[in-house]
């Protein structure tokens, strides 16, 4: 059974059809890169999978570990192991980063019928993850993303992922707006989290992240559909030739 199976997915935003029959299968342990030009529907895919309001699915199915993912509320998807690293992480003044993360962590455990962590247990876990992610604990004492630099916000997303340990991680343009050092840091974090039980969907416009997080599969998303799939060499081809002329064989 595939971990994630998307079949013929159609989705609308504000009445405009963005996804037009997207199909994709992802297995545990795999890293898939979704590449494509602006406006192809990359971010829409991430938002539909995580359940954001305003995205209307008009046709198709998304099956996650055998269940209908689209029928779940966003928080239930998270508890089931789906994680979206935001392209634009939201600043939440007044909510402490650690407090927020513990609330999320425990809410997920509660939803799965697992015992919640007390603050000591959680702190211990957080310390371990900080070490693995090579993140300063200073981030923990601040409000969620408030006043964070672009790089800090993206690293905070990856840190949250490390703590929440999702099965399916969707990274929405996590590389955008990062300088090369920040990009390496984020990539190191992602690589540290790769495991046979976990799958990644990396949505990106550029090939450069894939130099550091080497994908098993690369898909080209254009005009709401996957128009070409291949291995990492496809990303290099795109880098060389651009998105123009892609999927000519598929277009009607």
């Amino acid at each position: 059974m595939n971990m994630l199976k998307i079949e013929n997915l159609h989705a609308r935003v504000e009445g405009k059809e963005i996804l037009k029959g997207l199909s994709l299968s992802v297995n545990a342990g795999e890293v898939h890169a979704i590449m494509g030009p602006n406006g192809a529907g990359k971010s829409t895919l991430g938002n539909v999978l995580s359940g954001r309001d305003g995205y209307e699915v008009t046709a198709g199915t998304v099956t996650y570990n055998g269940i209908d993912l689209l029928a779940l509320e966003p928080e239930a998807r998270a508890a089931a192991g789906v994680f979206l690293a935001f392209q634009y992480p939201v600043e939440i003044p007044g909510v402490n980063n650690t407090y927020f993360l513990r609330a999320a962590f425990n809410a997920q455990r509660k939803a799965r019928g697992e015992k919640e962590f007390d603050s000591m247990q959680f702190l211990k876990l957080v310390r371990e993850k900080l070490k693995v992610m090579q993140i300063s604990d200073e981030l923990l004492h601040r409000a969620v993303n408030e006043g964070f630099s672009g790089g800090e916000k993206k690293r905070n997303e990856i840190f949250q992922m490390a703590v929440l340990e999702p099965q399916l991680a969707i990274l929405d343009e996590t590389d955008s707006g990062l300088d090369i050092d920040a990009l390496k840091h984020v990539a190191d974090g992602v690589n540290a989290l790769r495991s046979p039980e976990r799958a990644f969907l990396m949505i990106t416009h550029y090939q450069r992240l894939l130099d550091y997080v080497v994908p098993d599969f690369v898909h080209v998303l254009a005009d709401g559909r996957i128009v070409e799939s291949g291995d990492k060499s496809l990303a290099l081809k795109l880098e060389e030739h651009g998105y123009a002329g892609l999927g000519e064989g598929v277009a009607a």
Binding site: S50, R52, D53, E75, A78, A79, I92, G94, A104, A107
Partner: protein, 439 residues
């Protein structure tokens, strides 16, 4: 045009003999204030400052004055206990000074803290100017100051607090105004006079608390004066019972380089009105306010903030938030005037509001008038719901919708406490306001 019959409230407030102090100027001022109240009555919503606060229902009520048992009503110390606050304290119950509940035994050097009645008895003359003023405030035919007038006519006691020049008091001074349940619906009035001498420093905590029914009407009028370079940290916690209507007027006057910081939490009450006025009359004076009003049920909480910059390089910052639930109503008016000559002044005002239910309402009105040069000013007000992007972010991490809402609402409220220096007090107040949020 024939005069309409006076409202029951006006009648009941006038239906008591004027207190006689034996001090000629004070009795004259009381007489004058009472006459002005009788002539002008209560403001209606055509008066701009009362546009969103109708007194129709309150005007039909009848309150008795004077609680003969006020001196002996049992009040638990837990009513006003605050963490980390164990200094000088002045307590009033139903408008009556309670020595037994107060803590005046060991006052630090340089602090005068006593009932106003005592101060008047000892030496009334220094209070003459401030206590003669209310009757002169506005046009006698203008009803907007009705409660200030009836307070000036009726209040026989209140707080007299004076910090001598140069005295820096570390321990917080606590002022407690308790409304205790009586057999009848009571009205009571208190008049406070607070002065900080040159370079004096004071940490002041003002609490308004009360038992449950029966209903009460209380008026509290405070004058606060900061001499040159004085610093005041003032925290106001208003958490009276939902049957209590509380009308306050606080006037703060700041001389050169004086700095007052006010944190105001408005949690309780039926009809609550606070006129908060600051005058920055000395160069370099600074006035910072942080406030939160959280009406729920059928509460009505109205704050009228008015700041006048009258001197060079004066600064004011005002950060106010409102959260209304159920069928409650919040009103905020923030009026800033930078007067001619107050060049180089800096005034910022922000009022953000959250509506937690479709039946709730908040009316906010920022006003800015600038008559000086090289002034920096910013003001803004919003009324809305919780940010959808933030809600989704929390939910995407697994936090259920109701919990996400509660978390964001609490954070929105707590922001006004951020720069409160005492962590213990901040935690306590934060707990109080979170407790008021819907579960």
């Amino acid at each position: 045009m024939s005069q309409p019959a006076p409202l029951p409230l006006v009648e009941s407030l006038l239906d008591v003999p004027l207190p006689a102090s034996g001090i000629a100027w004070l009795d004259a001022a009381r007489h004058e204030s009472r006459a002005a109240f009788a002539a002008a009555g209560l403001p209606d919503t055509r008066v701009e400052a009362w546009k969103y606060t109708a007194l129709r229902a309150l005007g039909q009520r009848h309150f008795a004055r004077g609680d003969a048992a006020a001196a002996s009503r049992a009040i638990a110390a837990s009513t006003f206990a605050l963490p980390g606050v164990d200094g000088p304290r002045l307590v009033f119950v139903n408008g009556v000074f309670r020595a037994d509940l107060s803590a005046l035994d060991v006052l630090p050097a340089g602090l005068t803290l006593q009932p106003l009645s005592q101060a008047l008895h000892d030496d009334a003359e220094p209070l003459r100017f401030v206590l003669s003023r209310p009757a002169l405030i506005d046009d006698a035919r203008e009803a907007g100051d009705a409660f200030t007038r009836i307070n000036a006519a009726s209040a026989v006691d209140g707080v007299m607090l004076r910090v001598a020049a140069g005295m820096k008091l570390a321990a917080p001074v606590q002022l407690v105004f308790v409304g205790a349940a009586a057999d009848v619906e009571l009205a009571w009035h208190l008049r406070n006079v607070i002065e900080l001498g040159e370079g004096a420093e004071l940490n002041l905590i003002e609490q308004h608390v009360s038992d449950a029914a029966p209903a009460q009407l209380a008026t509290v009028v405070s004058d606060i004066e900061l001499r040159e370079g004085a610093r005041l940290q003032h925290t106001v916690l208003q958490n009276v019972a939902v049957a209590t209507s509380l009308i306050r007027r606080s006037s703060v006057r700041l001389h050169a380089r004086a700095h007052a910081t006010l944190h105001v939490l408005e949690l309780g009450g039926a009809l609550v009105r606070h006129d908060l006025r600051a005058e920055l009359v000395g160069d370099g004076a600074r006035f910072d306010t942080r406030g939160l009003f959280m009406p729920h049920g059928r509460q009505h909480i109205d704050t009228q903030l008015a700041i006048r910059h009258q001197a060079l390089n004066t600064t004011s910052t005002s950060t106010w938030r409102g959260v209304a639930n159920d069928r409650a109503r919040g009103v905020f008016r923030g009026a800033i005037v930078v007067a001619p000559g107050a060049d180089g002044s800096d005034a910022s005002l922000s009022n953000k509001n959250l509506l937690l239910s479709p039946g709730a309402e908040i009316d906010t009105k920022p006003e800015l008038e600038i008559y000086a040069d090289e002034v920096k000013a910013a003001h803004g007000a919003t009324v809305g719901q919780l940010d959808e992007r933030s809600l989704f972010y929390l939910r995407s991490r697994g936090i259920p919708l109701a919990e996400a809402r509660a978390l964001l609402t609490a954070a929105f409220c707590r922001a006004v406490l951020d720069d409160l220096p005492s962590e213990a007090l901040r935690e306590h107040l934060s707990g109080l306001l979170v407790a008021q949020l819907p579960a």
